[in-house]
Amino acid sequence: MPRRLELDPVTVRRARTLARRAGKPVVDLARAHTTVSVERATLRMAGLTGADHENVPWVNHLVDAVREQVGLEHGVTTPIWDALISGAAPDLLTLAQKASSGGVTFRLPEKAHRTRARRAARTAVGRGIRTIDKQRATRERLITRHGDPKQKPWIYLIVATGDIREDIPQAQEAAREGADIIAVIRSTGQSLLDFVPEGETHEGYAGTYATQENFRLMRAALDESSKELGRYIRLTNYASGLCMPEIATLAGLERLDMMLNDSMYGILFRDINPIRTFVDQRFSRQVHARAGIIINTGEDNYLTTADAVEAAHTVTVSQLLNEYFAKEAGLQDWQLGLGHAFEIDPSIPDSFRLELAHALLARQLFPEAPLKWMPPTKHMTGDVFRGHLLDGFFNLAGAMTGQGILLVGMMTEAVVTPWLSDRDLALQNVRYVLNAAGGLTEDFHPPRDGFIQTRARQVLDEAVALLDEIATGSGGADTAYPQPLLAAIADGTFGAMKRPPTKGKGLDGVARKADDYDNPAIDLLETVDPPRSAAGRRREEGATR
C-alpha cells in the first residue's frame, strides 16, 4: 500500500529506537530467568504428554519433583535425562509417574555424566522441534494445494461453545459461510490455570479449553473444510496466561496457524506477574517463530478500559513494543498480526474520521505486518440494529485502510454469545462491504495536512513522547527491578492498571537461571535454522500484506 499519511521518517525511526531502548532491558531480564511453564514446555517437546487420574499433567509432576530436589535454576532437562540414563526409569512417562510419588532421586550430574545427559536431552527435545518443522512444511504444502483466501482482509471468526464437539460443526459452517480463520475462544478461567488441561473437553465457561487433543480435533476438521472449500482455513487459539510456552508448543505440534500472543496483556488484564509474563512470552514467541505461526497482539484491550481517542497513542506504543519483542524472539514481519480496534465513542463528532486516521497510522507504521482489526465492543449497547450499522462502518474502515485480518463483529456483542443467525448476518455485512468497497484502498488518499493526516501525526507524536518517558524513566532505579518499562507498568502507564514486578500471579514459578542453566529447546530455537522450502518462504513473505 502506498504511503498515505506522509509520516516523518525521522519520527518513525525514533519511535522504533525508543521501543528498543525500553524493551532491551526487559529482554535481558527474560533471558536471565526461567519459569515452570518454560521447563514444562521443553518436556512437552520431548514428547511427555498425559495426566494422572486427577488431571494433573505429568509435565507438572516431573517439573515439580525436580524443582523440589535440585531447583529450577539449572533447567530440568539435565537432571531428568541423567536420571533416565542412570536407569531410574525406562522412559520419560514412567519417570514422571515414579517421580510423582517421590520414587526418583534427582541430582545435578557433573563432567561426563552431565555431557551425556545434555546430549540425550537435546536429542529428545530435538525430535519435538522436528515435528514442529514438519507441521510447518505440511501447512505450506496444504496452502499450495488449497490456496489462500481470495480477498484481503482475511475474515476471522470466533466460535465459543465450551464443547469441542459443538465447536467443530459451527467452525465448519462458519468456514462455508466465508470465514478464513477460525478462533476457538478459551474458557475464560484457563489463563490463570498453571497447567494445561488434557484431552477432549466438553465443558467450559464462555469458551472451550485449549488442550492438545482439542487442537488436533479442530485442525483435522478444518483440514476437511479446506479440502471441501478449496482454500486453507486457518486455526487460531490463545497463548496468553500462565501457560504461554506450553500452549505455544502444543500449537506448533498440532499445526495451529495463528496464536494470540501479547507481550503485556497477561500482566495488565490478568494480573500475572510481569517477570513471569516476559520470560514466558519470549519463549512462546521463539516457538511461534519456528512454527511459522502468525501472532495476534492484544492492543484492542487497552481501548476497552481507556478512552479510544485519549489513549490512541498507547495502542501505538504497545504495537511498537510488541514488534520489538517479537522480532527479538525471531518472528518476521509477516508473522506480526499487531492488534488495533474500532472503539471510539460513535456519538462524538468525526468518530469515523478518527478511526480512519488511527487505522491508517497502524497500517503505515507496520507496512509489512498483517495487522488485526478488531470490531467495536465497548459501544455496543444491546441495540442490535445500531450495532449492525456500527459493524458495517468498522468493516468499511478495515476495507479502506487495507487491514490484513478482520475479526468479524457481531451485532449481539454484549448480549449473548453469537447465534448461528448472528454470525450469518455479520458475514453478510462483511461480504457486502468488501464487495462494494474493497477497492477503496486505491481511491482513498487523505488530503495533505487534512484532518486524517494531522490526527495520525498527533497520535504518533504522543506515542513517541510516551515511549521517551518510559525509556528514560527512572521510577524503578532504586529497586531490584531498575528496568524503566517495568516501572512504567507498575505506575499504571498502560490500560490504567498498576502492576508492580514483585506482585501478580505466577511469581512463584519464576527462577533466576544459574550459570550452568541448560535448556536444549532454547539452544535449538536460537541457533539452528529450520529447514525451509523456497516456495513457502516466498508465499509467506507476500502472504498477508
Partner: protein, 286 residues
C-alpha cells in the same frame, strides 16, 4: 369540533377493547390518547395495531414447509395473521426468518411490578459531605470481577475515574477510598483484601456468564464472606451485572443487586444510604 371521517368512525367501532379505542381526536366522554390507558398493545404505526417484529432460526432446510413452520410458530406466539417478510437459508440445515404481525395480547401496566429505588440519588458532593459528616473517615470500597469473568467493563464503569454515562466513577469521590482488584480475582483473595483494607463495601461485577456462573460465583462469594467475618461485621456486599434478576439479592446472600445501565452515582448514593445514614442503622461501628 371537526366531524370524523367514515373511516375513523369505522375504526373506532370495529375494535373491541378500550386499549384500542383510545383515539387522538377524542370527543368528550370518549377514551383519549392524552390519558394513557393501563392496557396497551405494541405500536407499529397506529394505536392498537399490536405490530411486532420477530426474527429466529429454525433447524429446517429452506423450503415451503419451513416457511409454514415459521408462520405456525408466530401464530403460537400470539401473532394473528403473521407476515413472513424474509426467509434465508443458513447452510443446508437451517433457515433464518423475519416475521411481522400483530399480537393479540394486551398488557396491563397496573400488573407490572417494578423494584423502586429505595434511596435518594445524591450528587458526588452530597455523597462526600455525608461520608465526611457521619462516618468521619473515608468509606472503603473494594471492587473486583470474580470467578472466570475477565470482563472488567462493568466494575471499571463504576469505579474508574472515567466512569460511565457521563458520570465520574467512584475513584473520583474524595471521601471514598477505592480499590479495584481487576479481573478473575479469586474469592479467598477478595475476602483477604477486604479484611486487610477494612472494606465497608465490596462491589463485585459479573458480566459474561454461562450456565449460571454468575449465580454460582456470587453465592460462593457471599458464603465465603459470611464464613470469614463475624455476624454483623460482613462488609456490604453489592453485585452488578446484566444477568442478575432484580429481587434475588436475598437468595444470593448479598445486600443489593444492580443491573444493566447502573451509573456510578446510583452506586455511590446506595452506599451512603446503606452505610452512612441514618447513623442508628449503621452496619459497622465505624
Amino acid at each position: 369540533m371537526t366531524p370524523r371521517t367514515e373511516a375513523q368512525e369505522a375504526r373506532n367501532t370495529t375494535r373491541h377493547h378500550i386499549g384500542e379505542r383510545r383515539i387522538e381526536d377524542a370527543l368528550p366522554g370518549e377514551a383519549s390518547l392524552q390519558e394513557p390507558s393501563p392496557l396497551v398493545r405494541p405500536y407499529g404505526d397506529t394505536t392498537g395495531d399490536g405490530m411486532v417484529q420477530l426474527s429466529f432460526t429454525l433447524p429446517l432446510p429452506h423450503d415451503k414447509r419451513a416457511e409454514g413452520a415459521a408462520l405456525q410458530l408466530a401464530s403460537k406466539m400470539g401473532m394473528s395473521a403473521p407476515l413472513l417478510v424474509h426467509a434465508k437459508a443458513i447452510g443446508p440445515k437451517f433457515t433464518f426468518f423475519v416475521v411481522y404481525g400483530p399480537v393479540t395480547h394486551l398488557v396491563d401496566v397496573r400488573a407490572v411490578e417494578v423494584a423502586e429505588r429505595e434511596f435518594d440519588l445524591l450528587s458526588s458532593k452530597e455523597v462526600n459531605t455525608a461520608v465526611k459528616k457521619h462516618l468521619r473517615r473515608k468509606l472503603v470500597v473494594v471492587g473486583a470481577c470474580i470467578g472466570t469473568d475477565a470482563h472488567t467493563v462493568g466494575i471499571d464503569a463504576i469505579l474508574n475515574i472515567k466512569g460511565f454515562a457521563g458520570e465520574k466513577g467512584l475513584e473520583y469521590y474524595r471521601e471514598l477510598d477505592v480499590h479495584n482488584l481487576g479481573a478473575q480475582v479469586l474469592v479467598p483473595e477478595l475476602v483477604n483484601t477486604a479484611r486487610e483494607l477494612k472494606a465497608d463495601a465490596v462491589l463485585v461485577s459479573q458480566v459474561v456468564t454461562q450456565r449460571d456462573a454468575h449465580i454460582h460465583n456470587t453465592t460462593a462469594m457471599s458464603a465465603a464472606f459470611r464464613e470469614a467475618f463475624p455476624a454483623g461485621k460482613v462488609p456490604l456486599l453489592v453485585v452488578g451485572g446484566p444477568r442478575f434478576e432484580e429481587g434475588s439479592a436475598g437468595a444470593l446472600g448479598v445486600d443489593r443487586i444492580f443491573g444493566r445501565g447502573t451509573t456510578p452515582g446510583e452506586v455511590a448514593s446506595y452506599l451512603v444510604h446503606a452505610l452512612v445514614t441514618p447513623p442508628t442503622t449503621q452496619r459497622k461501628g465505624a
